[in-house]
Symmetry: C2
Subunit: 227 residues, 2 copies
């Protein structure tokens, strides 16, 4: 937090939403700051070891202020999950509306998926436990995850149909892709030498081509024949 | 457990180790039965919801009998982790001693890794939390996981050296491979239409070739040129 400018709210410091000239920030910005701050705290200390007091303190506000934006800690965890998922859902929506081969469109979704998991929301998206959310929110999480899974399978199938993708089973391929990407939350820590963009690019390449060398990448791209 | 034969100990029923003609089973077999039964219980009910009494009851023995084989529940979780890891460590040892390209040897390790994660030990290997183990056993788990990671990276590097593998970064490729495989523990349930062998075969194929079609698989295998 030391490197942020007090008057400019930035991703680096959610507390800035309550400071200086920006005191009259709109509700949406402040709510986002609460969620971002919570995501960071859950990631660092775990959900059970983080209180709403901790989150309020990190933002320099009181606990009632937090309650103005979310009903309880459970909902806060759910909002963190949603915030992390949003760019993936947007990427899938864009992919559905964009012309191009299934492979080209899947590549873009994988890139945004990797960036989302490598973000501060990655922990909430992958490592938060369903039992922490209670049955109702947990069911919503399952439905949203299933929506992402179906979106990836649709792109795989579109690629199979247009000859740009060759997988034997879209369900298992979607699980392999999601598994490789979700696992990023287990090992990636930001602020080290590897940027989230580096990770995203490496994962796009690996998931597209695997570990086998390409005989001829241009040829491979044109041919569209399953091996 | 209904479909097992009382006198024949089988993977389907660890309790058989204490029954009938086999009463004088050796210590190793019974210990293994305790560990297998625990792995199954942890997977089904979670670690915190399973007591040593539950495990003893499932085996038809008393709790002191369990203590004859393991010191406590924590050690039991660690033993489940070890039992699941053993086939992967064996596969890596075999790979180190076997001639052949890096790609061929990595393929065999991936197959055994997938089978291990799809086994009843998968939950303990992937989803058990480090904090449940305490600092000492947790450090051992980290060391063992790191051993597997290094083994996979060595095979990737061997394949790069002999031209059978093309990845830009062995560390990230090893994370992608492990992530896809570890995630199997999140979605796979045995006893349905998909066997663990089906899953292993599909994952070997996907991780080797990705979702892009191969221009010519034979050519690709011989060429060894990174794309």
């Amino acid at each position: 937090m030391a490197d942020s400018t007090p008057n400019e709210p930035s991703p680096a410091d959610p507390a800035a939403a309550w400071r200086g000239r920006r005191r009259r920030q709109d509700h949406g910005t402040k709510r986002e700051a609460v969620i971002r701050s919570a995501a960071r705290a859950f990631d660092q200390r775990g959900y059970h070891n983080t209180s709403l007091d901790d989150i309020a303190a990190a933002l320099g506000v009181t606990k009632p202020t937090i309650y103005y934006y979310v009903a309880n800690k459970k909902q806060l965890l759910f909002e963190c999950f949603l915030a992390g998922l949003e760019p993936i859902r947007n990427a899938l929506r864009r992919a559905e509306q964009t012309p191009g081969s299934g492979r080209d469109r899947l590549r873009e979704v994988i890139r945004d998926y990797a960036l989302a998991i490598a973000s501060e929301y990655g922990w909430c998206m992958v490592r938060a436990e369903h039992q922490d959310l209670g049955p109702e929110l947990s069911a919503q999480v399952r439905a949203l995850k299933s929506e992402i899974d179906r979106g990836i399978r649709r792109l795989l199938q579109a690629g199979i149909n247009d000859g740009s993708i060759a997988v034997a089973d879209t369900r298992l391929a979607a699980f392999a892709i999601a598994g490789a990407l979700n696992w990023i939350a287990h090992w990636y820590r930001s602020g080290r030498s590897l940027t989230s963009e580096d990770v995203a690019e490496a994962f796009v390449q690996f998931l597209e081509h695997g570990f086998a060398p390409r005989a001829d990448s241009d040829q491979g791209r044109r041919a569209g024949r399953p091996g």
